[in-house]
């Protein structure tokens, strides 16, 4: 029989989850990934919010419809010669002088682009109670890697990316008559699949191994405050903590602990 027993129903556990999401704050990562046929460097920040907890005995904590908010700053460069037709200024003769035919090499451009969105996911978590230094922690740890479903918003992101491309190319001499076609070709080359793949690559690490701390308890637990100089505080040591999902009259997250004086 454990010395301490505490229980939380799904509603209370959901509150604990939301507190844990707030405590987790913003997580950032940066690196490089493929954006369709292009390479892109990125930095991304992500926060978690919402979601509801379902407790499934024996030890599964399902978090449903958790929001992953992300904001991405990416920069990709592309050699426009790969997308634009070969272009030459023809020879022109005026005043008896003829200019040479001059062929234009399109430049390689660098396109910075930022966007933010939200993706929901549902995943199973397992419980992990452990001692960290002088503190007992109970975490829920994701099991497996959930599928992040990027919806219709990716089409909007692609359209915005096309606008950023147009802006980056607008100042390039002679490109005007080719601009619309080039943007369409580049956006098509990236495609929804390319953008989804990019987002999957950069966002999956945020949920892979995701861990929310839902309970924290110092190992030393005061049971009586100090009454004076000769009446010191009385503490007990929590020697063990365990957490499990149990089915009683309803499913509950049950935390048990053992103490020693």
């Amino acid at each position: 029989m454990p010395d301490i027993i505490a229980a939380a129903d799904p509603t209370a556990t959901t509150v604990l989850l939301h507190d844990a999401e707030t405590a987790l704050g913003t997580i950032t990562r940066s690196g490089g990934a493929s954006l369709g046929p292009f390479g892109a460097s990125y930095s991304v920040g992500a926060t978690f919010s919402g979601g509801t907890v379902n407790l499934n005995p024996p030890n599964v904590v399902e978090i449903a419809n958790c929001n992953l908010h992300y904001s991405v700053s990416l920069n990709f460069s592309l050699d426009l010669n790969s997308f634009l037709p070969h272009f030459c200024l023809p020879q022109i003769c005026v005043f008896g002088i003829c200019t040479p035919k001059i062929c234009i090499n399109w430049p390689t451009i660098s396109v910075p682009f930022s966007f933010a969105d939200n993706v929901k996911f549902t995943a199973d978590f397992t419980l992990d109670a452990h001692l960290s230094g002088a503190t007992w922690l109970i975490d829920v740890v994701i099991v497996g890697i959930p599928l992040l479903q990027f919806g219709a918003a990716t089409a909007g992101v692609l359209a915005a990316l096309g606008a950023a491309l147009s802006l980056a190319m607008l100042a390039i001499p002679f490109i005007g008559p080719f601009l619309a076609g080039a943007v369409a070709v580049i956006v098509a080359a990236i495609g929804v699949a390319g953008l989804t793949g990019f987002l999957g690559t950069i966002l999956t690490p945020f949920v892979s191994g995701l861990r929310f701390n839902i309970y924290k308890q110092p190992k030393k637990f005061p049971v009586l405050p100090a009454g004076g100089a000769i009446d010191p505080e009385v503490d007990v040591q929590i020697t063990a903590i365990a957490a499990a999902v149990q089915a009683t009259d309803k499913n509950e997250l049950v935390i048990t602990g053992d103490i020693a004086a």
Binding site: Q91, I92, F95, T99, C103, I104, F174, P177
Partner: protein
């Protein structure tokens, strides 16, 4: 990039001079708008202008493609031999050479893209739509306007029509300090020629670059 400035020649710009008299000429290629007023006999690259062999033969045109080699700009033919009446035209296709100036001297005369004199021509292909007001920085009354209209082809046929239109150029002539016409209208990608018939040397510069 693609700025209208005869002192700083880029891709799509040309500078041409007709050498009417036989003699020895030397020219230098410099970065930026600063070029020497005179080129010494040991400086730069030689152009030997021989007397015309066949008086009835039409004059020739010689192209000097300017490229960058390390920190130097070099013409495609470092030692050029031409005949009196021939024209030499400088241009580049090398982005690393863009922004160069041509200057040269012969016996009793000098020439340069920073100072167009008699029989000198500057050309510029306009790559971006807009209204370009140009002047000579030293003679503000020598001025004109180029209106460059945008082109947005909606079909391959329209694009081909635009490409065909690029063979048509517009021109300004500058004679006795007068510019004719005062304004030309072109579409993006077309080339404008400036020909100086006389004068002490003028530059063709976008007014915005002089502000």
């Amino acid at each position: 990039m693609n700025t209208l400035d005869s002192r700083s020649l880029g891709i799509g710009d040309c500078f041409a001079v007709k050498f009417a008299e036989a003699g020895s000429v030397r020219h230098v290629l410099t970065f930026g708008a600063h070029a020497p007023a005179q080129v010494g006999p040991d400086e730069g690259f030689p152009i030997t202008v021989k007397k015309k062999g066949d008086a009835g033969a039409p004059p020739k045109q010689h192209y000097l493609l300017v490229k960058r080699d390390g920190n130097q700009l070099i013409p495609s033919t470092p030692e050029l031999a031409i005949e009196a009446g021939d024209t030499v035209l400088w241009y580049t296709t090398d982005p690393a050479a863009a922004g160069f100036c041509v200057a040269g001297s012969g016996k009793g005369f000098s020439f340069g893209s920073h100072g167009l004199r008699a029989e000198a021509i500057y050309t510029h292909a306009f790559g971006t739509p807009g209204t370009y007001e140009w002047t000579d920085p030293l003679a503000r009354n020598v001025a004109g306007t180029v209106v460059v209209k945008p082109v947005t082809p909606k079909s391959d046929k329209e694009r081909q029509a635009w490409l065909a239109s690029l063979s048509q150029g517009a021109s300004f002539e500058i004679r006795c300090g007068k510019v004719k016409p005062a304004k030309v209208e072109i579409v993006v990608g077309q080339t404008v020629f400036w020909k100086a018939w006389d004068g002490e040397g003028l530059a063709i510069v976008d007014r915005r670059l002089q502000a």
